[in-house]
């Protein structure tokens, strides 16, 4: 490149001013996105406040919360969520720990399994579960019945639905716990604790669990968000949960469903916000159901 070319370039090139340029397009997309997200929520809120004509009132909320069915199903869904969370922790944490410490060979298989729920969405899962567990569980190749069909008893159905929810939550919960363990390097922590004389129980309760608190919390919150609003598993298994209740409500009434939908949104927001708080990172998405 010779001097002449350099000089002609300096004449024709317009220097980009380093002052703050307003990113017009960025604002445009953002505002568009904000509108798209906020409008439906606003619409729901507004609708829910319109129970009395020409008045803004919380009557819809009041009526919704007073409904004994609401109390029953909402409580029940919360209990299910809690059960799923506890069962999940009891199952996934020791497994992830064991694999990290003792059995790295199982890692690929386990990761594959935690991916499976993406391939087997709720509707398919419930299809298979119903077909299998609506017939008595027999010892293979015999006629000896072990249990009555799980789907026919309350207890059995509860087991099925909690298990189903665990399957739905597994990718997030297991993954969250696993990453948390990797971040704090449980292997080294365990060895340090052992060299200081701790037994297994102490190690798990005093060393491991406290250090993966953030992962446990975010997994728990996500599970809560999934379970409380879940409809597919609940309705096909005949469980009296909040999801089916809300759906049924929508068939008969207008304002109360809107109110409850808005409340669901607030609950989800709270759960996600708490997750952000604890993990300080990217949000977690479960995708559609």
């Amino acid at each position: 490149m010779n001097l002449a070319k350099v000089q002609t370039l300096s004449k024709t090139s317009k220097p980009k001013p380093q002052t703050r340029r307003i990113p017009v397009w960025s604002w445009f997309w953002f505002i568009l996105g904000a509108l798209y997200f906020i409008l439906p929520l606003y619409a729901t809120l507004q609708f829910s406040l319109q129970m009395k004509r020409d008045q803004i009132t919380l009557l819809a909320y009041q009526k919704a919360f007073e409904d004994p069915q609401f109390i029953k199903t909402f409580t029940y869904s919360n209990i299910l969520a809690l059960a799923t969370i506890v069962a999940g922790i009891v199952l996934f944490v020791p497994t992830a720990y064991w694999i990290r410490l003792r059995l790295p060979e199982a890692r690929r298989l386990t990761e594959f399994i935690t991916f499976l729920p993406f391939v087997v969405p709720a509707i398919i899962l419930v299809f298979g579960m119903i077909r299998i567990y609506s017939t008595p569980v027999k010892i293979p190749f015999t006629d000896i019945e072990l249990f009555q069909p799980l789907t026919t008893t309350h207890f059995g159905t509860n087991i099925l639905i909690v298990a189903g929810y665990m399957v739905l939550a597994m990718p997030y919960m297991y993954r969250s716990v696993d990453i948390g363990m990797r971040t704090v390097d449980v292997r080294t922590l365990t060895e340090a604790a052992q060299s200081l004389g701790a037994n297994w129980f102490t190690i798990i309760t005093r060393v491991i669990l406290p250090n993966i608190r953030a992962s446990l919390l975010s997994g728990a919150l996500l599970t809560f968000a999934i379970v409380v609003g879940e409809v597919t598993l609940a309705s096909f298994l005949g469980v009296n949960a909040f999801g089916p209740y809300l759906f049924l409500l929508g068939q008969h009434l207008a304002y109360q469903p809107a109110a409850l939908s808005f409340v669901t949104f607030l609950l989800t927001w709270m759960a996600m916000g708490l997750i952000q708080l604890f993990t300080g990172g990217q949000g977690q998405a479960t995708g559609a159901h």
Partner: protein, 297 residues
């Protein structure tokens, strides 16, 4: 959890691997088998079983022959593709706006948090929200009618249709795209842009020759994931359309309640067909994710 050191002398077994190690993961595998693998296997085996109980390919073949089944798959594919591409593009633009696009940092946190919320907000509440927005007495419908004098329902729009379902699905598709693309866009190193500029490239040349090719695996992978996500959705569609839109998940739902196809094996085959599509979608996403991680690390 027990220690592996025993007080009894070790038995010398011909198999050289320590099976006791696998004890610890038995509960997990048992759980997976009972509640994930067995149900899936039941469907898988069932799709190859005919009404008499013997093995057959007929069900699978019928998938490709029966018109209403093909239509269902085609409809599901169309909805998934539209929301994957539309959601992908818009989600990408949003993610771009808050990362490289130069918007203030608080807006980014807000968008990420909200995306986390919105992508979990599917199902019945979402359907209701859209009814309140674009239903016959919805707020936007009202604004368009009273302020702009456009009656969308008269013009043929219907929330409880293909286009309505797509619009509703977008509500959780955009955020999912944002959540995947924001970290990927972060991974676009500033030095690449500077190196390109230093070597004489204009903005357009940088984007077409460097940035877009680097981002392409992430974008494609994310869109494929979005596709699978939409394909497997049931609750939102059912709550919104009540089953009037015969997508695959709705058909399967009907089949579960009562054997509407009059052939259980066919029902299982439909379910398997869906699993197959989801599996391909997941595999595609995984592979592209690995490629993009290699570049954006």
């Amino acid at each position: 959890m027990t220690q592996t050191t025993l007080s009894t002398p070790k038995k010398i077994t011909p198999i050289s691997f320590d099976w006791k190690k696998w004890l610890g993961v038995i509960p997990f595998f048992l759980f997976a088998i009972l509640f994930l693998i067995l149900p899936s296997m039941r469907l898988f085996v069932g799709s190859f079983t005919n009404n008499e109980g013997s093995f057959t390919f007929a069900n699978v073949l019928q998938l490709f022959q029966q018109k209403n089944i093909l239509d269902a798959y085609w409809l599901s594919i169309r909805i998934s593709a539209v929301t994957a591409i539309g959601g992908g593009i818009f989600g990408f633009l949003l993610a771009y706006a808050v990362t490289i696009g130069g918007l203030p940092l608080p807006l980014r946190s807000a968008l990420i948090t909200f995306s986390g919320v919105a992508s979990n907000f599917a199902g019945v509440p979402l359907a209701f929200a859209f009814v309140a927005t674009l239903g016959r007495t919805g707020i936007i419908t009202a604004i368009l009618k009273n302020v702009f004098h456009i009656n969308i329902y008269q013009a043929g729009f219907n929330l409880y249709s293909f286009i309505g379902l797509c619009l509703t699905y977008m509500y959780f598709q955009f955020p999912l795209m944002v959540l995947i693309m924001a970290p990927a866009l972060d991974g676009l190193k500033r030095e690449w842009r500077e190196a390109a500029e230093n070597l004489g490239a204009t903005s357009i040349q940088y984007w077409t020759q460097v940035a877009m090719p680097i981002l392409l695996p992430s974008i494609l992978g994310a869109m494929i994931l979005l596709f699978g996500n939409a394909f497997g959705a049931y609750a939102t569609a059912y709550a919104l359309t009540g089953g009037s839109l015969p997508i695959v998940t709705i058909q399967i739902g009907a089949q579960i309640r009562g054997d509407v196809l009059h052939n259980p094996g066919l029902g299982y085959a439909m379910a398997m067909g869906m699993v197959f599509i989801m599996a391909i979608s997941l595999a595609g996403y995984s592979w592209l994710q690995r490629v993009s991680e290699r570049w954006l690390r």
